[in-house]
């Protein structure tokens, strides 16, 4: 059977409490060896106050949750130790557990066990990963939606519909002499495939949006020196009271500050110390802007209302033209000398604090943020799953082409079957090794 594993499951360095999670047959017994109370006598799903001890030395004052199999995340006996003594003591607790012969969990291993033990299906497993990486309420809501298996259910229903068509076609083939069995006609397939396509497309759109929701939008502010980049950045942050700084995760190094807009995280990408002083900013040239551009989903290009387009402005316009971009014409309090046309222009004036609302509205409009419905939001969260669903577009295209060319229905069924198979792979009901391998490689839960 599975050996017992442990790991610190909270992010290191943040927060007053860290949790050490232990899962496996020996979880209760081994944790019991390092406490002052008898955990083996505790009921399942209870929390007890205890000390963690190294021989006679008290390491930390903790709360211990006991959860017995099978009603746990991994379906195995699980113990969670809430440590209060900061990172050093938490690591000491972990060390004690390792000394007890418990193995350090691999990346994603708790979730892998939950999946392998049939506790969650693939989309749910992915969702757990998402949940850990979410930053805003909206993101949490849709991830939880997914975690409840609603996307899997949606896909399962689509598969059931496909099976119905497939079965009907097959009955027609296997019992051709029975003229009284309903014939699956080209019209019926057309209708069904149209509706299935719609549903799949909506999952694709949602999944693409869900990236925005879980990861936020990375924004780069670029512009010549002295056009007011730092003022605009400061105003944007001030607009939102809940400033999030120092976000953990992959974007940490480049994010200067983040704030919420309609429940979506907007990450302002650091354009090399933009906030420090205007003097330093003066040294930032096109090269730095280019670097920021690469990391950005959205570019705010700041121009000065009071000056004609300079050579440098033109250069910046050129390098950002293929990006999603808003041109911010600043300093509208001064005389208008700038002449520029673009579909996404906002006029601001940071002295009189004008135009910042409009800028936020523009961002919202560009990403249709207000329309992101989170209640009926079905999505898949890995690129593999998304690509699989996207690959059904080819089948649907082939079916539609086939329908046009009067290809016989039993041929169309080959593509219908393939869609069914592919959707099965997305929710883990058909086996393919790559999907599983990639899934667990990309996991960062539990550690």
């Amino acid at each position: 059977m599975n050996d017992t594993i442990c790991a610190i499951s909270t992010t290191l360095g943040v927060g007053a409490i860290s949790i050490v999670r232990v899962s496996g047959k020996e979880a209760i017994e081994k944790v019991n060896n390092i406490t002052n109370i008898d955990l083996t006598k505790k009921k399942s799903h209870t929390i007890s106050y205890a000390y963690i001890k190294d021989n006679n030395e008290i390491i930390d004052e903790v709360l211990i949750s006991i959860m017995k199999a099978p009603k746990t995340f991994t379906t195995e006996d699980t113990v969670e130790i809430n440590c209060h003594g900061g990172i050093a003591t938490t690591e000491k607790v972990l060390e004690l557990l390792l000394k007890q012969g418990i193995r350090l969990a691999e990346t994603g291993e708790f979730t892998k066990r939950a999946f392998l033990n049939g506790r969650i299906d693939l989309t749910e497993a992915e969702a757990v990963n998402d949940l850990i990486n979410t930053k805003t309420d909206k993101a949490r809501k849709i991830v939880i939606n997914n975690l409840k298996g609603t996307t899997s259910n949606k896909i399962r229903k689509l598969r059931e519909r496909l099976v119905k068509i497939i079965n009907n076609i097959e009955v027609n083939i296997d019992y051709p002499e029975y003229q009284d069995i309903e014939e699956m006609t080209v019209e019926k397939i057309k209708e069904e495939i149209g509706s299935i396509e719609e549903e799949l497309e909506s999952i694709i759109t949602n999944s693409e949006n869900s990236k925005i929701i879980t990861n936020g939008i990375n924004i780069a502010i670029i512009g010549r020196p002295n056009v007011g980049k730092s003022s605009i950045l400061n105003k944007l942050i001030e607009e939102d009271k809940a400033i999030v700084t120092n976000i953990p995760g992959t974007t940490r190094d480049i994010v200067e500050a983040s704030f919420n807009l309609n429940g979506i995280t907007l990450n302002l990408i650091d354009t090399a110390g933009i906030r420090e002083t205007e003097d330093i900013v003066e040294q930032i040239g096109v090269k730095k802007s280019k670097e920021a551009l690469e990391k950005a989903d959205l570019v705010l290009l700041i121009l000065n209302n009071n000056e004609k387009l300079t050579k440098e402005d033109k250069e910046l316009l050129e390098i950002s033209k293929n990006k999603k971009r808003i041109i911010v014409v600043n300093k509208t309090d001064l005389e208008k000398k700038l002449d520029i046309k673009d579909e996404n222009i906002v006029y601001t004036n940071t002295i009189e604090e004008k135009g910042i609302e409009e800028l936020l509205d523009k961002i919202s409009e560009l990403y249709k943020l207000e329309q992101l419905e989170t209640n009926d939001f079905y999505y898949v969260s890995t690129i593999e799953q998304l690509n699989k669903i996207k690959s059904t577009r080819n089948n649907i295209k082939d079916i539609k082409a086939g329908l046009k060319e009067n290809i016989s229905i039993d041929m169309l069924e080959i593509d219908l079957r393939e869609i069914w198979q592919t959707l099965g792979e997305v929710i883990g009901e058909t086996y393919t090794e790559e999907l599983l391998d990639n899934l667990f490689k990309n996991f960062c839960v539990g550690k």
């Binding site: 059977m1 599975n2 999946f115 392998l116 033990n117 049939g118 497939i166 079965n167 097959e170 027609n172 083939i173 296997d174 019992y175 051709p176 002499e177 029975y178 003229q179 009284d180 082939d398 060319e405 009067n406 290809i407 016989s408 229905i409 039993d410 041929m411 080959i414 079957r417 393939e418 883990g428 009901e429 058909t430 086996y431 090794e433 599983l436």
Partner: protein, 617 residues
């Protein structure tokens, strides 16, 4: 007396098995309860049908007899699903039951290495888990190196009509009681299955004016790829279509509990795919009428089979039921419908060679393996005997892939999934059916038949000629034609739209209205219909065929990951209980096969793969 191979049972499986065995130079004994009933068709007078017709072609390609024997005994033949794609075309024939049986007996009698004996086998002689021979009813011990059981429905059978139950096989023949007990004692799991057959009525008492005539094909069709069928399609007989009436339904509903099935007299599980008329009514309450076909059984006697009307009602109710049908109001019933239940083994106790896992050198084929249908039985008989021969000659068994033959699909399904009701082959069971076509069965399988020694020179020459011509034609089609005035004139004359750009004949052939025949001018040769048809399908459906080949290749990667027979799945950590039990029982030979076991989930497969990897390391 010592034989190489003994075949027990003279039905469709037994005949194929005996012929293969004898033709591969094994001293063969065929034991049957009644020689007159060899190759008997106790149910419908028909060979072929959707998927089954393709199996007959596969049997023929491998060097089996069913196709040729059906061709010799035709009453009517047609191609099914011609309005659909070529992947699902399939031949269906009405055969003359008397001719079919007699022709087969004649063929058997011609074989030098084959003896036929009329008796029942009561016991197997088994030493060290290896079969050594059989013991007959007369207590005669007959030794053999291998035994093939093809007992059909004659294993511990009961015939049921209403509440009456008789311990006998079809035609009132004696049933064999001891053999199934023997099998059970040897370690086989015995399951009880049920099937049934409709009433037969006297032809000249039917009013055919109330029926719809169903004609056969108007072009020559035949099963065999190489043996010319003597059948004259001008001499086909008709079948007739009628429907059940509200009166029929009322009679059945009123008497439902009197039927053997609904009265609780049957223990066996009946075929889902071939329900009795009672079942049809109960399961499809909303359906106002059911289709029935009237099929002639033989030119030698005056008997009509009512397809779709199988029943286990008492005979007085059957009288009323039959007489409520249009055209049959005054008909004379010659033989009443009955249900029959019989013993079968659990086919997951078989290897893919159809040798049993329980007893070495013992093979089984046909209904004893839980299948239903003449074609299903015949192809298993063929494969069992091929593999018994391979075994005796220390050669690798012939195992056909799921992408290679319907026969491969059938056997893999049986040994991997088992069956709870009589198994019927369906096109939907084949995931690569575009590869498993009627037209290319010879291209798929003749080489296999040749390799095991069944395909003789005559058949092989027909095959290689066809193959050569196909290659030649494909090569010729690579040529490009240009839109000159002359070319377009020729095209238009053949009914093809003029071309605007340079195009290869291959690509031109992809267009719906273009056929090889219409391109004759450019090909400098006339090709036979089989060759043209083959090439047209290959080219017109190129994209779809390629897709299925790719899918099959992908699956083959899983088939390549072998699972040793010695794995004790109890020692594989984390497998779900159900998977553990199933895997231990079925002992799949590859991950691919394991994936197809119901109850073995993707997570079990991933655990198994991880386990295999860790064992390698």
């Amino acid at each position: 007396m010592k034989y190489d191979i003994i075949v027990v049972g003279g039905g469709h499986a037994g005949c194929e098995a005996a012929l293969v065995s004898a033709r591969l130079d094994n001293k063969t004994l065929l034991i049957t309860g009644n020689i007159k009933n060899i190759a008997d068709c106790p149910c419908n007078p028909s060979v072929g049908g959707s998927a089954k017709g393709i199996v007959v072609r596969e049997i023929d390609a491998l060097g089996g007899e069913m196709g040729i024997n059906a061709d010799k005994s035709l009453i009517q033949i047609k191609k099914l699903n011609t309005r659909k794609g070529p992947a699902v075309w399939s031949l269906r024939s009405q055969i003359d039951k008397v001719d079919y049986s007699q022709n087969m007996i004649e063929t058997l009698n011609k074989e030098n290495n084959l003896e036929i004996k009329e008796t029942l086998v009561e016991h197997l002689i088994v030493e060290n888990n290896t079969v050594k021979g059989v013991i007959t009813r007369e207590k005669e011990q007959i030794e053999a190196k291998a035994v093939i059981l093809t007992t059909g429905t004659y294993l511990n059978s009961n015939i049921l009509v209403g509440s009456t139950k008789k311990q006998e096989g079809p035609h009132g023949e004696e049933t064999e009681l001891n053999l199934s007990k023997d099998l059970k004692n040897l370690g086989f799991t015995i399951q009880r299955l049920k099937t049934g057959t409709p009433p037969r009525i006297k032809r000249d008492t039917i009013d055919f004016s109330k029926t719809k005539v169903e004609k056969g094909s108007d072009v020559h069709l035949q099963f065999s790829f190489y043996e010319k069928s003597p059948f004259d399609i001008e001499k086909q007989e008709d079948c007739y279509l009628i429907y059940t009436t509200p009166k029929t339904h009322k009679i059945i509903y009123d008497n439902l509990t009197k039927s053997a099935m609904y009265g609780g007299y049957v223990e066996g599980v009946g075929p889902r795919y071939c329900p009795s008329i009672e079942d049809k009514l109960v399961k499809f309450k909303d359906k106002e009428r059911h289709q029935l076909f009237l099929e002639p059984e033989s030119r030698h006697y005056d008997s009509i089979y009512i397809q779709g009307f199988s029943s286990s009602m008492p005979i007085d109710v059957q009288d009323k039921m039959v007489h409520s049908l249009p055209g049959l109001e005054n008909c004379e019933i010659q033989k009443y419908a009955y249900a029959i239940e019989y013993d079968a083994i659990d086919p997951t106790q078989l290897k893919r060679s159809l040798e049993t896992k329980v007893i070495e050198n013992l093979f089984t084929a046909g209904q004893i393996n839980g299948t239903s249908g003449y074609e299903e039985a015949a192809c298993q008989g063929l494969m069992a005997a091929i593999n018994a021969n391979q075994k005796l000659k220390n050669k690798e068994p012939l195992v056909l892939g799921r992408d290679e033959a319907y026969i491969g699909v059938l056997i893999d399904d049986l040994v991997t999934k088992g069956t709870l009701d009589p198994y019927r082959l369906l096109t939907s069971r084949a995931e690569y059916r575009l590869l498993l076509r009627d037209d290319n069965a010879d291209l798929r399988l003749t080489e296999h038949g040749r390799e095991v020694g069944l395909v003789k020179d005559k058949q092989y020459k027909v095959f290689t000629d066809k193959k050569r011509k196909i290659e030649e034609l494909l090569k010729k089609l690579e040529q490009t034609i240009t839109p000159t005035k002359k070319t377009n004139e020729i095209l238009e004359k053949s009914g093809i739209k003029p071309i605007l750009d340079k195009i290869s004949l291959h690509d031109l052939l992809k267009k719906p209205d273009v056929t090889v025949e219409k391109l004759d001018y450019f090909l400098n040769n006339k090709y036979e219909k089989e060759v043209r048809e083959e090439v047209e399908i290959m080219i017109k459906y190129e994209g779809y065929i390629k897709k299925q080949i790719e899918d099959a290749e992908k699956q083959k990667e899983y088939e390549k990951i072998k699972l040793s027979e010695d794995i004790d799945y109890n020692n594989v950590p984390n497998l779900a209980l159900e998977a553990r039990e199933k895997l231990n029982k079925i002992k799949p030979t590859s991950i691919g096969q394991a994936m197809r076991i119901s109850g073995v989930n993707p997570s079990d497969i991933s655990i198994l793969t991880i386990y295999l990897r860790s064992k390698h390391e």
